[in-house]
Amino acid sequence: MNAAKATADTGAAGLTTRPERGGAVRNLLMVTMGPIVAALVFSGVILLLLGVNPLTYYGFIVERGLFSSLGLQQTATRMAPLLFLAAGLIVAFRAGIWNLGVDGQFLLGAVAAAAFAPLLVGIWPNWLILTAGFVLAGAVGAAWSVLPALLKAYQGVNEIITTLMMTFLGISFSHVLVKLVFLDPATTVPQTRTLPVEDRLPRLFETNISSGLILGLVAVVAVHLMMTRTAFGLRLRTVGASPLAAAHAGLSVPRLTLAVFGLSAGFAGLAGAVAILGVEGNVRADWNPAFGLMVIPLVFLARLHGIGVIVLIFFYSAILIGSESAARKMGVPQDFTLVLVSNLLIFLALAEYLDHRRRQR
């Protein structure tokens, strides 16, 4: 976690710093592009050892994830929940709160939306069901962060530990809810009732892309603007940069901490809603895509910058979709994407370290 924290600190600093010209180009090459190339090369070596031609594999991923029409639509649809999660993480990390419990908040939000929405089909108008589903999921997600939030705000208990604990509980709890409470009596497989396809979020134009993508983009951009352009965002950044300075400036650090948890976990809940109401339609027992753990590194990689996150999530989704096909066609396990991303993080941390050393000299 320390490495991650250091990355974020320098990242936050980097955002407000205006690097000198010339330095910016070298910075981009060394700290951003360098690790990406190094990770691709290193992962390629692993692929070679597995007996797979890396160029074929990468080419396949690019072709399936980006350049085929169907793949591109899948990629775009996959982005939606990741974008909501990223929005929540940007709020938290910029405010110096390490909400690592987004997966639990996400799943409980998803279960809430899946339990609630199908019941009202035909009773409420469609737009109201979807809106209420989002609100409910957001509220449930936020509610799951109340305990860590109170402990952090008033007792100073490390939120990394409490949110991680709560995420394990939340994941198990969501499984229990699906199996025991919100079980669809009409099926033998344990899962919630299913929201009919025609009642889900509308598709964009003539494509298969869920309009959740638009909502996700709006969420990230809104969060980015909130953090950079508003008084509230500056208050949060102040608390994140130095709680001491925040208290000195007269800000209520505990109350802002509570707000950060609420917003961050609320977005995680919304991510659950967008996954269910946009794509899945129901929650199967033991469903846990662990999107949160995937998005955390991307948010760091983008230095907590909203636009950067959107770009990275786009490419990451493309890799995910592409590697799903690659797994079927080329026999490379789908989890290889995780190897790729972890290599990227290792090289990123390395570049960060070297850059830091260079600056010190």
Partner: protein, 534 residues
């Protein structure tokens, strides 16, 4: 260093010979010269007291001997030879053992484990040998060393004995005790004094760091007084023996607080006509914290146009008082009135609205946010307020205009208002903070060590600025550890010790030397505990 290494007794230098020393050593930290061309000679068989207020440079010197820091200029010596200590391990290898103020033992390990910690990892700790040597130490020095006790369960005094034993097991030639008596009872301190004497008698050089004058006299052979990073004077053993306690303390007070024949400050401020009372504090009290007992019955008034100086050795409640006044620290008793209106329950924002401004002494981590650009730092206490924000939205160009005006007015040296404030020097950061606090209608300003660590030019500018705002009718509370500054600027000087105001003197710069000594005596308050007994 192995426990079983050579018997050092044979190698010990003759009593009185220099063991280690400093040769015109200078150490700078960002914005502060912590140690300024100090030369020092520590001799075998001598208890060498380093005396000085907090910030006098004692800890930095300890840090250099302990291998935690290296000097920027000058060098260390060992037995007359030039020496470098690049790490704590190098310091230990050079025969220097440091007992820090806060015990550096692993609380969950046994005493035995702590004693052998740091030995070579590839062999089993020689239990029988250590036990035999420990038994010898217990006999020779009266140390209590229960080898199988869990360290964390022992008292602080006992933990200190373990650290001393560890130093002896390492065959240390120099033992440094950093504020070693601040954690123990008076009886424990006396015991420690006797033990130091035994160690010195056996040829060790003992460096004893303290800010308590009577301990310096009772335990020390040689007393070196540090003041603001510089060597203020030394009382050699021959001279010290001729003095009685009162005489020695007089001498130390003179070295610590005296002007040393410097010129009386220019244009002293006296005889100001006092205006209406701006701030009155009655019986202020705050809660006890881990490292401070809390404020108790603090009562004072400051009038318009008046500068009330608050003197005291660092850490006697000045920061707590400033924070209580600013609304940053909750009061457990007493009341605060601002221009006659009760403000006891107000928070930071309310006090600021009422015209009370607080210039923190922690300009780097509390007063500013290093990663934020200068322009945001100028409005950190106004977030969300017009004219810089409208409807919660930042009006960046207005803030930047405001910042540029402030940079001009306070001659802040910065490439641009968009530069992260952390890139500026301490003096320039302080100017930005000063500009922030004085913008708008400041009616009462609390300065906490405003010129600490600044260069002479900035100090002069700051003092002029403080005088100017008082002349404009602002009520000023000036907390400072620099007596010259207080005598130069204040109308009255209150002295703080142990969370209380121990006295107030009306400033009379024509009697500067007498005032220094009078205030110095109130500051050290030999009878009262200067720090919290643990």
């Amino acid at each position: 260093m192995g426990v079983s290494s050579r018997q050092a007794q044979d190698l010990r230098p003759l009593p009185g010979a220099e063991v280690i020393g400093l040769v015109s050593v200078t150490k700078r930290f960002p914005g502060v010269v912590a140690v300024d061309a100090v030369s020092l000679s520590v001799r075998a068989g001598e208890i060498h007291v380093l005396l000085g207020e907090n910030g006098a440079g004692k800890s930095t010197i300890v840090g250099m001997f302990a291998g935690l820091q290296e000097p920027d200029d000058g060098h260390l010596t060992a037995g007359g030879q030039r020496m470098r200590l690049t790490s704590p391990a190098a310091s230990i290898a050079a025969g220097i053992s440091t007992v820090f103020q806060h015990a550096m033992l692993v609380p969950t390990l046994t005493v035995f484990e702590n004693l052998v910690l740091g030995d070579a990892w590839w062999h089993r700790p020689p239990r029988a040998e250590v036990a035999a040597r420990v038994a010898g130490l217990q006999r020779d020095y009266g140390l209590t060393l229960p080898l199988d006790a869990i360290t964390g369960e022992l008292s602080l005094g006992e933990q200190q004995q373990i650290e001393i034993a560890r130093a002896l097991l390492r065959n240390a030639r120099v033992l440094i005790l950093d504020e070693a008596t601040s954690m123990v009872t008076p009886a424990g301190a006396a015991e420690l004094g006797a033990r130091m004497r035994m160690l010195a008698d056996r040829g060790l050089a003992v460096i004893f760091i303290t800010h308590k004058l009577s301990e310096a006299f009772r335990f020390g052979d040689r007393i070196t007084v540090l003041k603001q990073g510089r060597l203020a004077g030394e009382i050699a053993p021959g001279r010290l023996r001729t003095l009685d306690e009162a005489g020695a303390i007089d001498e130390m007070v003179r070295l610590m607080f005296g002007g040393g024949g410097r010129a009386v400050p220019v244009t002293p401020r006296t005889g100001q006509t006092r205006g209406a009372v701006r701030l009155s504090a009655t019986d202020l009290a705050t809660a006890r914290t881990d490292d401070f007992a809390g404020l108790e019955s603090i009562t004072f008034e400051v009038a318009s146009g008046e500068i009330l100086g608050i003197a005291g050795i660092d850490g006697n409640g000045q920061k707590q008082l400033a924070e209580a006044l600013a609304g940053q620290r909750p009061l457990t008793g007493g009341s605060i009135r601002i221009e006659g209106v009760d403000a006891t329950c107000g928070l930071v924002a309310d006090r600021r609205k009422a015209g009370l401004r607080y210039l923190t002494d922690d300009r780097l981590s509390e007063g500013s946010i290093g990663a934020f650009p200068v322009y945001l730092n100028t409005v950190l206490k106004e977030i969300g307020k017009p004219p810089f924000w409208r409807g919660g939205l930042e009006r960046t160009s207005r803030i930047r205009d405001h910042a540029r005006a402030l940079i001009r007015e306070y001659t802040v040296r910065t490439p641009a208002e968009t530069t992260p404030i952390g890139h500026l020097s301490g003096g320039n950061i302080q100017k930005v903070i000063l500009g922030r606090e004085l913008s708008g209608t400041a009616r009462i300003v609390v300065f906490n060590k405003p010129t600490y660590g600044l260069d002479m030019q900035n100090i002069t500018a700051f003092r002029r600025r403080i005088r100017e705002i008082a002349d404009q009718g602002v009520a000023v509370i000036l907390i400072s550890t620099d007596l010259d500054e207080l005598i130069e600027l204040s109308d009255r000087i209150a002295v703080m010790e142990g969370g209380r105001l121990t006295g107030t003197v009306t400033n009379d710069p024509s009697q500067a030397e007498a005032m220094r000594l009078q205030i110095g005596r109130l500051m050290v308050a030999e009878d009262g505990p200067a720090s919290v007994p643990a």
